[in-house]
Symmetry: C2
Subunit: 305 residues, 2 copies
Amino acid sequence: MTPEVRDKVRAAAEELSYAVSRNASGLVTGRTCRVAVVVPSLRPWYFASVVSGLGHALHEAGLDMLVHQVGHLEDWIHTLPLRHNSDALVAVALELTEEQCAHAADMAGPVVLVGERLPGRASVHIDDHAGTAGATRHLLNLGHARIAYIGSRTDGGMSLSSTARLNGYHEAMTEAGLEPWTVTKSPGPGCGELAVGELLSHQSPPTAVLAESDNVALGAHRALRRSGVPVPGAISLMGFDDHDVSSALDLTTVDQAPQTLGRVTGHLVADLVQGRRPSDTCVELPVQIVPRQSTAAPRKRRTSP
Amino acid sequence: MTPEVRDKVRAAAEELSYAVSRNASGLVTGRTCRVAVVVPSLRPWYFASVVSGLGHALHEAGLDMLVHQVGHLEDWIHTLPLRHNSDALVAVALELTEEQCAHAADMAGPVVLVGERLPGRASVHIDDHAGTAGATRHLLNLGHARIAYIGSRTDGGMSLSSTARLNGYHEAMTEAGLEPWTVTKSPGPGCGELAVGELLSHQSPPTAVLAESDNVALGAHRALRRSGVPVPGAISLMGFDDHDVSSALDLTTVDQAPQTLGRVTGHLVADLVQGRRPSDTCVELPVQIVPRQSTAAPRKRRTSP
DNA sequence: CTGTTAGCGCGTTCAC
DNA sequence: GTGAACGCGCTAACAG
């Protein structure tokens, strides 16, 4: 085929806006150029950010992204037409068992976990432990000693991520020779408020509060505001996520760069799908403290009269 | 085929976790059971909500969702492998020309616009005009007269949605016999702050501010807080979107239920794809004022000495 | 290096 | 009613 013929063909293809059918080519190559992403919901800021980064990275690699929102873990794999329909599966923030992963891998090829980890499975996640440990030390360095940790806990226990965050706080407190003070409430919009309610009813409330997530911190902030407790005047408040609301509320927090998480995952998946050997199949990304105006040195103790 | 054989086949399929290849079936039927969604980005709360609702509705209809994030309008259609790869196209918040729509429809089948509208094209959007008109009346009813509108404007002009919002404000003000007062800044995080800066430098600042979106209101709120202007004490502030931050900041706003927008779009697309006649191909959804604590009656004018 | 052909997995049709 | 054969659009392997 001469170059000029090539050009004519190209021009014709352009003219008719021809595009190869990945449907048909996938049929013969066995590769669909599609990656299935399973996520609890697209609505929360964190998930949306991860999937956004993922989408950009996959697009760069020439892969399309199928997004599935699945609430219940049990039936998710049955409702998904996976076999022959995607080259890989990305599970965002899903606590899967090894069996579920194996089953999924059997049907959908490589499985990559985001925000969770499972021994032997490819995963991308942040260093939750270091995040809360660093956050706790930030508060310690400001001079706080009575630092409470507020978080969510379902009846079924805590996710790996939640556990790691709690442990980071515990470790930093213990290292400093201080007693950890943990309050957990059931997840949901009222979580932070309820936790603050409990803390404020204590005879000697904390001078600083570290929340498991910005969402929890948000509720806490509202409860403190409504109770007339100045932040950071009386209580310093710190979140975890760097949610949009955090900058809105000038909330000190821990940036976990979810979009980067997604982007790194995308590159990893592309390597896996396209037969390249990824340098590392289990990536842990660092986090970063973002100091803002909701944390300050504790008010001097009023000397008793 | 006897029923018992059917059952045995079903059992075997279950056992081997067999799933029909939409790839192959699409090849022969011409239907891919896939819908392409094009959205500027998944990160902003509004887009994530729309796509989330869309995903749920499509899933119910047995359709998979391909998500494409595209920033630049010009090349978006070339980068997307559309032909034979999706049954329909949903464009979220993209200002398309009729030519682009026609081209897209030629390649991807039915095109549905969300958050925008184009004569003759299927679209789902909210009543922006009624939203800002209602919001303005809310402020008028509280007793405000000097009500400013702040929004964003690029060099290229305003989107239909922005224009509709501005017009709603204009109309309500004119109806009340008051002079509209509009301040627009270039979009971005600094938009609200800059607008408030301009308003506060006026010799007689407004007593109420209506923002084009919660994002703008957010910046405005921050600027007011930093300037020590009490909200709603000195200035009432109102947003538009019912973003998460709005409830966090107790901001009065206009709920536009983006997830419902997505869900309605999903049903419409499913009807179109599956050959049903949709009842209406151009849906306008109502909005609702959400009163919170950032709006109140204006402070009594201090009588001059 | 170019042109031809088989067959990927499935739905439809046509013959039985 | 059941079953076989064709072809959807494409790629890979092979023959010229």
